[in-house]
């Protein structure tokens, strides 16, 4: 199973998502002006949106590459259950995309003049939320695998599913920045992530089985 991650890492565009995140975040002050108060107020939302879009960018690579070179067929007939394979794919996606975003987010917080109190909740919210983004994204990738130019369709399918994660993630980061209690959105966010991680791999596996027919 660990090798799957290795194979993914060798094949994917590593760091692309991070660079995209950086560009989005640096573009915002140019767009809305450098006023610190305003930036600080919208920082949590912008950072979350940036992370979400950066995540979206690499989703179509999750399964498409394996589909093209035929390894998906071979994996489907291997001793590994498809549910396990998609879980590993999601994990690999999270390690190459979500985790770097989590680690780099304090730096981007500085760019957005995020208030000091907001850093810990921001990092924590991304840490709790990005796994859900990867798992939901893998489900979307399983749905659209084999479709030519499925990337756009994938975005359309996946973005609405990202809404709850975005709401609670950004809410937690915002409350943290304002210094109010963050436990309610944090629990909701953690609940969403846990539920999604537990259930969606089965849906992804089933969808993939249908798509391979």
């Amino acid at each position: 199973m660990r090798d799957l991650r290795l194979a993914m890492r060798a094949g994917g565009g590593f760091g692309l998502g991070l660079a995209f995140f950086l560009i989005v975040v640096t573009l915002v002050p140019f767009g809305v002006g450098p006023e610190t108060g305003l930036l600080a107020r919208i920082a949590p939302g912008i950072l979350w949106l940036g992370a979400l879009l950066a995540c979206l960018l690499s989703l179509d690579r999750i399964l498409a590459l394996d589909w093209e070179d035929g390894s998906l067929d071979l994996l489907a007939t291997s001793p590994l259950p498809l549910e396990g394979i998609v879980t590993m794919k999601a994990l690999a996606h999270w390690i190459t995309t979500g985790l770097p975003l989590v680690i780099a987010s304090p730096l981007f917080g500085v760019l957005m003049s995020l208030p000091e109190a907001g850093y810990a909740p921001l990092v924590l919210s991304l840490l709790l939320g990005t796994p859900a983004l990867s798992v939901i994204g893998t489900f979307g990738a399983a749905l659209t695998v084999g479709i030519k130019r499925g990337g756009l369709l994938l975005s359309l399918l996946v973005l609405p599913l990202y809404v709850p994660t975005l709401i609670f993630g950004a809410e937690m980061a915002r409350r943290g920045a304002e210094g109010t209690a963050t436990s309610t959105p944090m629990l909701m966010l953690a609940g969403i992530s846990a539920g999604v991680i537990a259930l969606l791999p089965f849906a992804s596996g089933a969808v993939l089985r249908v798509n391979l027919r």
């Binding site: 090798d3 799957l4 060798a10 035929g70 390894s71 998906l72 067929d73 071979l74 994996l75 291997s78």
Partner: protein
């Protein structure tokens, strides 16, 4: 251990292509499928490999005993020859990389990136994967595409060794392998006549 196919019908994209297939393959034997392009050999092999459900009929085969090799070799261009094999060895939980490299004369290429191989070399690597799986039943779709005469002989040697070890091979091919002991099944007469859609795919047609 045997593969038993009884009254099997298979469909591609909701359209039945082959029907009424019956055959039996016992340990130590090979079966070669023949038939013109588009007759449904690939569909039949994918059905037997469990990648798609049969339209009708039964396939009795232990899924855990089977490995499938398609037109595409499933190689990662950015990994070396040895890493590619090691990955599949890890997936199948075996440790046969050395023997597989030897069997298809890939030892000299082991550190080369798979993306830098020629088409025939890639195919050899794809076939070497079969040795790594350690599975007794090989289901092969056009295994000799882009192989030269020497590599085909290598492949036939590998199949013979596999059969001698109690394995089975079911393959679709157009060329004469020189594998005289293998039975040949022409799937031409089994072409499906009636058109019927199954409920699931009918929705999408």
């Amino acid at each position: 251990m045997e593969l038993l196919v009884s009254d099997l019908s298979v469909a591609r994209g909701g359209v039945p292509v082959l029907e009424g297939l019956n055959f039996r393959l016992a340990a130590g034997h090979a079966l070669i499928l023949r038939g013109p392009n588009g007759i449904g050999k690939t569909t039949l092999l994918r059905t037997i490999a469990g990648l798609q459900p049969p339209l009708a009929g039964r396939i009795s085969l232990d899924r855990e005993a089977m490995t499938y090799a398609a037109h595409a070799d499933g190689l990662k261009a950015t990994l070396t020859v040895e890493e590619n094999l090691a990955f599949w060895a890890a997936v199948f939980g075996t440790d046969e990389v050395g023997a597989a490299l030897e069997g298809f004369a890939l030892r000299d290429l082991r550190a080369r990136l798979a993306g830098a191989l020629s088409a025939g070399q890639k195919r050899r690597l794809g076939l070497a994967r079969l040795l790594v799986t350690g599975r007794p039943v090989w289901v092969l779709d056009e295994p000799t595409v882009s192989l030269d005469v020497e590599a085909v002989a290598m492949f036939v040697r590998a199949v013979r060794a596999h059969l001698a070890g109690g394995g089975m091979a079911l393959m679709a091919t157009h060329i004469d392998l020189g594998l005289d002991e293998a039975a040949v099944l022409d799937v031409g007469p089994f072409r499906a006549r009636a058109t019927q859609e199954d409920h699931f795919d009918g929705v999408f047609l």
